[in-house]
């Protein structure tokens, strides 16, 4: 990956600690680094992860620092504050890394990787790689007793930690306290990489002192003789309260300043990557003088994530869960290309080659759906036998294939066994066709919901509306709207404290303005 980045044309890589962001007339102009060098820029993306004023806590020991023994970004945090941004403080944690050679896997259950490998990418062929398994083991009453006996040494309970941690990623001491009736918690032992002996003890995130860490690890089956290579720790860091951002991830107050990842109050990995690409796209579009690019809640999980962040904010490190998406059925991994390729193509991120492939694929899918509508399955012995085998009811007359596919127990692949002339198709096409047909009813329901949702999304609100002057808005709504400056009526409707009546008032006000500017009646 490093090499890929280094080889990218037009990308210069400079590694230095940035201490200050320079802003002139509410617009970024550059950054000052630790050694005093100034880099000028039209747009800046800040992605500080957990390094922004990071503080590491292990037991009673705590010191300024970032992950992997790197320096924290302390002055940058102050610089952001000086620019008028409101910062908050979150906490997250990590488990110990242990030596693979000290682990007895015979006492654990093997957890092999997926049999079938799926790609993120829709264009590169699936590569079968050698898989390394993970191992499952469990904590027990002894482990829990060790934790309870040492709770007073936990910085969380001793009050050393102030930041708010994520609920989806609780430390083991948290789990033992909060779910006291659970007799065991599952622990996955995962390799850190192919070329290291380090293993990650998933499920044992902790900030207890290292001696307690060792004691509790060694109480777990298979870890009786375990050696810790790096102890687990908690880390506290600053984040930017994300309601200060536009859906493009640009700060509302400072033109050209973008933030992405944990600095926006989200958890790591996928959430960070999702914001990274949006901030990157928009920084580039801004430099080119083009309109910002955003994804809607109905188009992508990225849309859900960013809309939640900038509209509602978050009071713990935000994790994107499918439960947060109202249109989950439309946001499937199998149709990601269908949802996003066209959009990416428009802003120049999708190559002609990929675009062509995509069009061909969805052409095939649509044609196959049409074909299954007109293809009549005969009511003969062969069909009858197949249906008996599938435990499905028999036909009373020749029936369009699509009706059979709608039966839960009948798959397209089953029908393709019949001696009827089927076009050869790739598995992924068949799968997609099957999903579109089988769940058509549900998909249609969601599409109807999306249509209603998009009506309000389409009514844009400009940034310079003075909400306090709009008569009829409740005081709370006016205050919230003035603070959040939503970009559309739809976004406004999701701000807590803005009622349907307020939205009606806004719609009337918009119409008033429209008539006034168009000369009135």
């Amino acid at each position: 990956m490093k090499k890929t980045l280094e080889s990218q044309i037009n990308l210069d890589i400079k590694q230095l600690l940035v201490e200050e962001i320079i802003v002139e007339q509410e617009k970024v102009t550059g950054v000052v680094t630790q050694i005093g060098a100034i880099f000028t820029a039209k747009a800046i993306i800040v992605t500080t992860g957990t390094y922004l004023k990071g503080r590491i806590i292990i037991g009673s020991v705590h010191y300024p620092g970032g992950p992997n023994s790197q320096f924290p970004a302390v002055n940058l945090s102050d610089s952001l504050r000086k620019l008028g941004l409101e910062l908050g403080r979150f906490k997250t944690g990590t488990p110990a890394r242990v030596d693979q050679r000290s682990v007895d896997f015979s006492k654990m259950t093997i957890q092999p990787g997926d049999q079938r490998v799926h790609n993120f990418s829709f264009i590169s062929p699936v590569k079968q790689r050698d898989q390394v398994p993970c191992w499952l083991t469990y904590t027990n009453e002894t482990t829990h007793q060790i934790i309870r006996d040492n709770l007073h040494r936990s910085p969380l309970y001793a009050g050393i930690i102030e930041g708010i941690g994520p609920r989806y990623c609780p430390s083991i001491e948290d789990k033992v306290v909060r779910f006291a009736d659970k007799l065991q918690h599952q622990i996955f032992i995962e390799p850190e990489g192919l070329d290291t002996y380090e293993m990650y003890v998933q499920g044992m995130s902790t900030s207890l002192p290292p001696d307690v860490q060792l004691l509790m690890l060694r109480s777990i089956p298979g870890l009786e003789n375990v050696e810790i290579m790096r102890p687990g720790y908690a880390i506290e860091y600053d984040y930017v309260v994300p309601t200060q951002l536009k859906p493009s991830l640009e700060c509302k107050q400072i033109k050209g300043l973008y933030t992405a990842g944990q600095i926006n109050g989200t958890s790591g990995y996928e959430e960070a990557a999702a914001q990274g690409i949006i901030a990157g796209i928009n920084a580039a579009l801004q430099v080119k003088g083009k309109e910002p690019f955003t994804l809607k809640r109905s188009e992508a999980y990225i849309g859900v994530l960013i809309d939640d962040l900038v509209t509602k904010g978050t009071n713990e490190p935000y994790r994107l869960m499918t439960a947060r998406a109202e249109y989950r059925l439309l946001l499937r991994q199998d149709n990601a290309d269908h949802r996003l390729t066209e959009l990416g193509y428009k802003i120049g991120l999708v190559t002609e080659e990929r675009y062509k492939k995509y069009n061909i694929k969805w052409d095939l899918i649509n044609k196959e759906i049409e074909r299954l509508k007109s293809l009549i399955i005969p009511n003969n012995d062969e069909t009858a036998n197949l249906l008996i085998k599938l435990d499905s009811s028999e036909l009373s007359q020749p029936t369009p294939a699509i009706n059979l596919v709608r039966r839960p127990e009948v798959g397209i692949k089953d029908l393709r066994q019949l001696s009827i002339d089927f076009t050869p198709l790739q598995d992924e096409i068949i799968e997609e066709v099957e999903i579109e047909i089988k769940y058509e009813g549900y998909i249609k329901k969601q599409l109807a919901q999306v249509e209603r949702f998009e009506k309000l999304e389409g009514r844009k609100l400009s940034e310079d509306i003075n909400y306090n002057e709009i008569k009829g808005l409740s005081a709370e709504a006016a205050q919230k709207l003035a603070r959040f400056l939503p970009t559309s009526i739809g976004q406004a409707s999701r701000i807590s404290g803005v009622s349907p009546a307020d939205i009606s008032v806004l719609l009337i006000w918009l119409e008033q303005q429209r008539r006034k500017t168009s000369g009135g009646e």
């Binding site: 989806y168 918690h185 599952q186 439960a323 769940y439 008569k471 009829g472 009606s504 009337i508």
Partner: protein, 388 residues
């Protein structure tokens, strides 16, 4: 009426029907089942304005209208939600949320060690939820009481203060609607208004001078008489205590919704307390009053409301809309839950089944005003130990 010549400039259908709540309710139910919905506060005016029917000068008055109607609506909603209906719907909604959280947790955290949710179990739970909705829907039939008044009888042995009680209630309410002779010569029927609930009170007028209610009417006739009553106010005397006569009457009214009233508590020489009576009667409320001095009447009115209407109290002129709106929401929720059972039966994957559970939850939220996604997320984390 074809748009744009209607008030809103859109196509409009107006339905005129016979007076009375029953036909109105039926028509409303029919159109709602066909996919219509209730208008939001001020929605017609809003549409008229946005469609260009009203001029700019009228915009402000529409905004005022939306505001005031919303606030009035909120007041009604709050008054309705004070009571048991809201509690039951909230409990129901919470159960639905629990089901949803279970599915969502499994979908979002497939690797976590979560309690297994079998589809059979979920079908069963969902069926129970539908059952509960149906029960609530049945109890929502209190509309009858508003239309016809609540049949109430004051009973008690002579001289315990039945008439004083009636007079006190009448005086308190100052809302005598009618004063008509009852179905028998012996009975006077008064209609009065207890906090928005019409109460048809029958005082056993002809029996006032007699010594024994049972003797006078005959057991059979008295039973029949009492059977028609939807609420009984039984008055006992704090001074004389519980006598054999009282016990006979208690036997007669066994199983009826009754409020026991210990009257004359203002006098010194009381012989009976609420606790003592509580022992003879099962579960019915016992109140201490003084009809003469109007002590404890507030509490009595409150108890009447709670007991009979299970908290479902509305201002009389809003009953139709509010009831129908809630009823419709409950019916829609039940529909989605039945889709859940159907989906499970048809082998639809859990992440699709959950769409209907979520719809049911959101619809119940229209009644309780409570359906933010954050509640779901909170519930998942509260119920399940999740995470790396």
């Amino acid at each position: 009426m074809r748009g744009p010549k209607s008030f809103t400039a859109e196509d409009v259908v107006e339905i005129s029907c016979h007076g009375g709540i029953v036909p109105l309710n039926r028509v409303l139910k029919t159109v709602l089942n066909q996919g219509a919905r209730f208008a939001e506060a001020g929605e017609f005016s809003k549409r008229a304005f946005i469609n260009g029917r009203l001029d700019l000068a009228q915009a402000e008055s529409i905004i005022d209208l939306i505001r005031s109607k919303t606030e009035a609506g909120a007041k009604i909603a709050i008054s309705q939600l004070g009571g048991k209906l809201s509690k039951r719907v909230s409990a129901l909604q919470s159960d639905v949320l629990g089901q949803l959280a279970k599915i969502e947790a499994i979908i979002d955290f497939p690797e976590d060690d979560l309690p297994e949710a079998t589809l059979d179990e979920m079908s069963l739970c969902t069926a129970e939820l539908i059952n509960e909705i149906n029960k609530i829907l049945e109890s929502a039939e209190s509309g009858k009481i508003y239309r016809e008044g609540l049949q109430t009888i004051i009973v008690g042995k002579p001289n315990v203060g039945k008439s004083s009680l009636l007079n006190a209630l009448l005086k308190e309410q100052r809302a005598i609607v009618t004063d008509i002779p009852g179905t028998t010569r012996d009975v006077i029927e008064e209609v009065l208004n207890i906090r928005g609930v019409p109460l048809k009170i029958m005082d056993t007028a002809g029996l006032r001078e007699t010594q024994d209610l049972v003797e006078q009417l005959g057991v059979e006739r008295t039973r029949k008489f009492l059977d028609q009553a939807e609420l009984i106010l039984m008055v006992v005397d704090a001074i004389t205590g519980i006598s054999e006569e009282d016990k006979n009457i208690i036997k007669l009214i066994k199983g009826k919704k009754t409020i026991f009233l210990i009257n004359k508590i203002d006098l010194e020489a009381r012989k009976v307390t609420a606790e003592e009576i509580q022992e003879i009667i099962d579960g019915n409320p016992v109140l201490e009053i003084s009809a003469k001095n109007e002590i404890g009447l507030d509490k009595l009115e409150q108890t009447i409301l709670e007991l009979v209407l299970e908290g479902k109290v509305t201002a009389a002129d809003n009953i139709l809309v509010s009831n129908t709106r809630h009823k419709h929401a409950l019916e829609r929720a039940a529909f989605h839950l039945s889709e859940v059972i159907k989906g499970i039966r048809d082998g639809i994957p859990p992440d699709l089944v959950s769409i209907d559970i979520k719809s049911a939850w959101e619809i119940l939220g229209e009644i309780t005003g409570n359906n933010v996604t954050e509640d779901l997320i909170d519930r998942i984390f509260a119920d399940f130990c999740i995470g790396k």
